[in-house]
């Protein structure tokens, strides 16, 4: 999979207009391979090549963009003219009337890849999936298939993205991202009871090559996942009531994402998302003083974590990425806001430091404030110690349902797999476990955080937001965490 960046760079540079206040060209080329084996059958193998540019022009206080897949000199010139036109149309009408908060950065980033996929053949990758798929209806390596398992599949997607940002002031940022997305899914059924168990609910994804599979125990999971699907089929419904909750890292991914990440997005706080993704219960005056969680809560924005899904050197507006605390010892410090949102907050009279998180899903969408890697920092407890501190509660793994209000406050989440906890000991498996709460108070009930040995680096491949809509991958890392007095429930009886 070879990149087209270098043959096209001079053409892009020549297309950049010199007679405007600021201009940039962001080229993105994404090459993907998508493999799935379902019930022993290799599903249609698909490759993709998606390439195009976004031209951005700032002129006279206006700002416009144009995106095109036509990379010919004429196509680029037409895009520049459309972007100029939009910049002219928006003069005096923009949310950001004065100044251009963008720089002319120079730098590069390349994903760490220890074991490149290119050293394997397609046949190798398909064989790996066929062998894995063949285990998924035979729990723990049984000789015979279990006919309660009614559907199963194994997949492996890899996406290489090469991106080049050139600016009218000599800026040049080149980034090469290599992502790997493995997955397993097993569904078991008995009458009206259907249970699905997966490999980390899609959270075991990251940057890198074949080592991503080893990082998350892909091979061993092929025995565990079908066994747990059958355990769920035989399990009782999760009990209802107020009790303590221990969330595994692959559920913390969702809990962090929905009830810390989205509420802290500065563009939401500034109102951009109110017609679609929603607003936020967080307001600008809370930063620096608001108690978001207990003293145990420490949250970082960290695009520098090696191998995490949303690591990068620069965001899509060219701001250099750095690790920053958003919440320290439970106190809210800074939002997820890029250069443009920070400038808007300043213009509104609230100078506030943000992070480098202006991101676009591809060449065809403009950057907006997004999560990148948003992580709960480790504490000091082992998982056994977290469990031992619960008199009556549940231990939940792997998200399968997510719903939260438009202010990112009242939430209800469901998980694939639960275990009862009684008097500090893990007990029976329970099915259809769910819990509900309110973000503004939930994190204050955090009373145990796993240590560095339990800290797991993961991500979620599909986060939707923005108008026009965009879907990006975000990284989340967390240890298991314990919460006191949460409303827990099960499914229909």
């Amino acid at each position: 999979m070879k990149s087209a960046i270098h043959p096209l760079e001079e053409r892009f540079r020549a297309a950049l207009p010199a007679d405007v206040d600021y201009a940039s060209i962001r080229f993105s080329e994404r090459r993907g391979e998508y493999l799935t084996v379902r019930q022993g059958v290799v599903e249609p193998v698909t490759t993709s090549l998606d390439a195009g540019v976004m031209v951005s022009v700032w002129a006279g206080g206006g700002h416009g963009y144009a995106a095109t897949s036509d990379l010919s000199p004429a196509g680029l010139a037409a895009a520049v003219e459309r972007a100029r036109h939009w910049a002219a149309v928006t003069v005096g009408r923009s949310v950001l009337a004065d100044g251009i908060p963008l720089d002319h950065p120079v730098g590069s980033y390349t994903s760490p890849v220890a074991d490149p996929w290119d050293t394997t053949t397609l046949a190798d990758r398909v064989d790996l999936l066929r062998a894995t798929d063949a285990q998924l209806n035979r729990p723990d390596g049984a000789a015979a298939a279990d006919d309660r398992i009614v559907d199963w599949s194994a997949w492996l997607s890899r996406v290489d993205t090469d991106q080049l940002i050139l600016t009218s002031g000599g800026g040049r940022v080149e980034q090469r991202i290599r992502n790997t997305y493995p997955g397993l899914r097993v569904t078991a059924n008995d009458g009206s009871n259907t249970q699905t168990r997966t490999y980390g609910a899609g959270a075991y994804v990251g940057q890198g090559g074949r080592e991503v599979l080893d990082r998350y125990g892909f091979g061993a999971a092929a025995e565990r996942v079908p066994r747990e699907a059958l355990e769920l089929l035989a399990a009782a419904n999760c009990p209802s009531g107020v009790m303590d909750l221990v969330l595994a890292p692959d559920q913390m991914v969702l809990q962090i994402h929905e009830s810390i990440g989205h509420p802290l997005e500065l563009d939401r706080i500034l109102g951009d998302e109110r017609n679609y993704a929603g607003t936020s219960f967080v307001t600008l005056d809370m930063f620096g003083t608001y108690r978001y969680g207990s003293d145990l809560l420490n949250v970082t924005f960290d695009p520098t974590v090696s191998g995490q899904l949303a690591s990068y050197g620069f965001d899509d507006d060219g701001s250099p990425a750095a690790r920053q605390y958003l919440i320290r010892d439970g106190i809210l410090e800074r939002p997820l806001g890029g250069a443009v949102s920070q400038a808007r907050a300043r213009a509104a009279g609230t100078p506030i430091e943000g992070v480098a998180n202006s991101r676009a899903c591809s060449w065809n969408r403009p950057p907006i404030d997004r999560m990148a890697n948003l992580n709960v920092e480790p504490g000091h407890s082992t998982l056994d110690e977290l469990i031992a501190g619960v008199e009556r509660g549940v231990y939940l793994q792997s998200n399968n349902s997510w719903s939260i209000d438009d202010s990112r406050n009242k939430f209800q989440f469901g998980c694939e797999y639960g275990r009862l906890i009684t008097d500090g000991e893990l007990g029976p498996v329970v099915r259809n476990p769910g819990y509900r709460g309110i973000s503004a108070t939930f994190w204050r009930s955090l009373n145990g955080v796993g240590n560095a040995d339990t800290f797991t680096v993961m991500g979620t491949p599909n986060c939707g937001k923005g108008e026009p809509n965009q879907e990006v991958g975000t990284g989340h890392a967390s240890p298991p965490c314990r919460f006191a007095g949460v409303e827990v429930f099960g499914g229909e009886e």
Partner: protein, 446 residues
Amino acid sequence: MSASAVRGYLDELVTWATAQLTGDEVLTASLWGEDSDFVRFNHGAVRQAGSVRQREMLVDLIEGDRHAQGSIQLAQDPEIDRARLARTLEDLRETRRLLPADPYLSYATDDGRSSERIHAGAPPEPDWAVSRIQAAGTGRDLVGIYAAGDTFAGFANSLGQRNWFQSTTFNFDWSFYLQADKAVKNSYAGRGWDDEAFGAKVAWSGRQLEVLARPPVDLRPDLYRTYLAPAALQELVDMMSWGGFSLKAHRTKQTPLLKMVTEGATLADGVRLSEHTAGGVAPNFQEQGFARPDEVVLVEGGMYRDCLVSPRSAREYGVATNGASAWESPDSLTMAPGDLEAAKVLDELGTGLYVGNLWYLNFSDRAACRTTGMTRFATFWVEGGEIVAPANVLRFDDTAYHLLGSNLVGLTSETEMLLDPSTYRGRSTASVRLPGALIADMRFTL
């Protein structure tokens, strides 16, 4: 290159590619694209404005029962695109050689299926639309998105079949905010701008905003008699559509309507749902070139009837396809009206909740079609048939068998066509046509 010109370009490209085929190869090509303008507003000002031109083509290279597929973004330069396509065909041949036979491969082989569906339109000049929208937002807190232009889809294969879909529309999807999360949502979509119609919608939103200004009520979790406006009901049927009508989901017991299959559970007698392609605005063919019938009845008399069947599922399960896409979810879902007069909905509701919109739904027990979600935008507490106050957001958690079954009082006699404003891959061509629903008791939990 305009959308209309892309049609001819696809034809030329596939004709050229057909000449490059070897042996008994068959090639299918499915194209999707848009020429769209997007203007995003916040607080009545422009947040982002721009244009997007994209043309993505998925090619399936078949020989016997082996195949491989690849997608490319077209540059619209014949020299560049032929080179990309030639390279793709070469790669797909090599890939195909390494793959086993696909027992469920299915593609259209009848060139009599060629078709065209063109919805012509004349959206206003974007500069004018921006001015008009900003004028409507004067003195109000307006936030939303204006999207306009061409969307198009094409299918062509080496057997001579050609299908084309093209639609030229605009869709302004917006909210007026009063404060915090108190807002009225509305949309104005069509093929040509009628300023009087737009003005009427703006005025309606303005009146709703006045009601929202009353002190809100904070309702405790409980069972409430509830009216779901069509836009709210849309969220519920969208959840049912997530696997509910898919043959594959039925056969693998993952459908949220599992109890309709295993236990004979039913919805209310008056519930009739269909995939009504003839009444929608989506393409009437799918990505393997199979035609979609005018209508597939999914639920009738409250009982499950037919599934949506993709060509692949058809091969796997030995039934006929009905032109469904690979994910077997409806693009043009229609629910039949009932006999409640829309003008009397508040009287029929009496005391309870009027829900204008629901938000962020998900399954709390998929196998039981139990769904949770939030109220959003204009949701009001009603007493004695009169709106009393806006209601603060509430979470519901209930099953479709209650909401559209045992607890359904009735459906309105008027239905509303709701165009999908989503733009994830590009501008959506999906739509629903739905009535409003009056529910005796809806379970709210938070």
